[in-house]
Symmetry: C2
Subunit: 215 residues, 2 copies
Amino acid sequence: MPRPDRTTVHRHPERADADPAVLRRILDDALTCTVAWADAEGRPRALPTIHARIDDTLYLHGSRAARAWKTAAAGTELCVVATVVDELVLARTSPNHSMNYRSAVVYGRAREVTDRDELYAVARAITRHVLPGREDDAIEPGEDDWRETLLLAMPLDEASAKVRTGPPVDDPDELALDVWAGTLPLRTVAGTPQPSPDLRPGIEPPSYLGEFRRP
Amino acid sequence: MPRPDRTTVHRHPERADADPAVLRRILDDALTCTVAWADAEGRPRALPTIHARIDDTLYLHGSRAARAWKTAAAGTELCVVATVVDELVLARTSPNHSMNYRSAVVYGRAREVTDRDELYAVARAITRHVLPGREDDAIEPGEDDWRETLLLAMPLDEASAKVRTGPPVDDPDELALDVWAGTLPLRTVAGTPQPSPDLRPGIEPPSYLGEFRRP
């Protein structure tokens, strides 16, 4: 029997988007992701982490001290989910409510990044992923930092993207109902920067802090 | 050998928060969650969905047509992760960057909600979870809707919460560096409501649309 293709979208197949640019964009827009694996007893485990994408490789940020990340680095199969909610979809009836979301699911095994150039490039990409501009400001890792931080790489070979767009879909006989229907766009924005209590006087908040906006 | 306790936080144990109110609040603040399970071959699978909490029960919204949800309804072990990012934590050095996040991990098996009163209460709770106020406006499900929608219930018996708060932590010898350090609060806000193209004229956007704010 052929191996079932995990990347085929069975539910709402019209929402599947095979364009690699869509997948990449979801991974870039999602601030965090969730990494799932099966433990030695076959039970599901999952945790959130931060990530970054370079070309068609997904990088995950982990800790050497964490058992979960040791398991991941040992080549255990992983399933990574990244989700972006663009809009709430408000239909007239409760069951027709939805979200205009974009989700990516990436399957595979990860390799530990060990090459020095790749390590530094990934550290920079993760900082930039979280806050563009910060990667030029923050001091890059020292050699000692790699004793604690673990960076993992997963190819985007086995991955799927699912996207919903557009207005709510109500039945024709519901259109006359006296209920507002439409979409409510969401975005994540930054508030006022809070300087660290130990910040040296005279250092002003950098301008890129005010430019944070997602998606 | 005793069964390992999956809810013990091993990495950064100081971030573990055993207060049930903290766990409940994370589930309430997270707009979506990720549900993970192991498939018949023991491989990890995961997908995003919406949820709601009533007392100490987590409810998940699924579809009867989806194989994944049939698997979940059949009593497969699940691991549900909900994550809220409150602030970016910007340290002077790249490896000391972090996020002030709150994450919940819930383990267990789900039961399908079949009781009519519970079904309607959960449908209302999910609508309210996404957008408070909407649950009084949207038309409640009809009997036919339960043929498509699947609602699952998981107790919060085996769950953990992890919370980071506070400023970045840099080494004493890094405090003199010429780099801004502090936290950047994030919040998700709503933009301008987009009426559905088929909206009946004369229906104004309800006021609760302007009150969406998370966390």
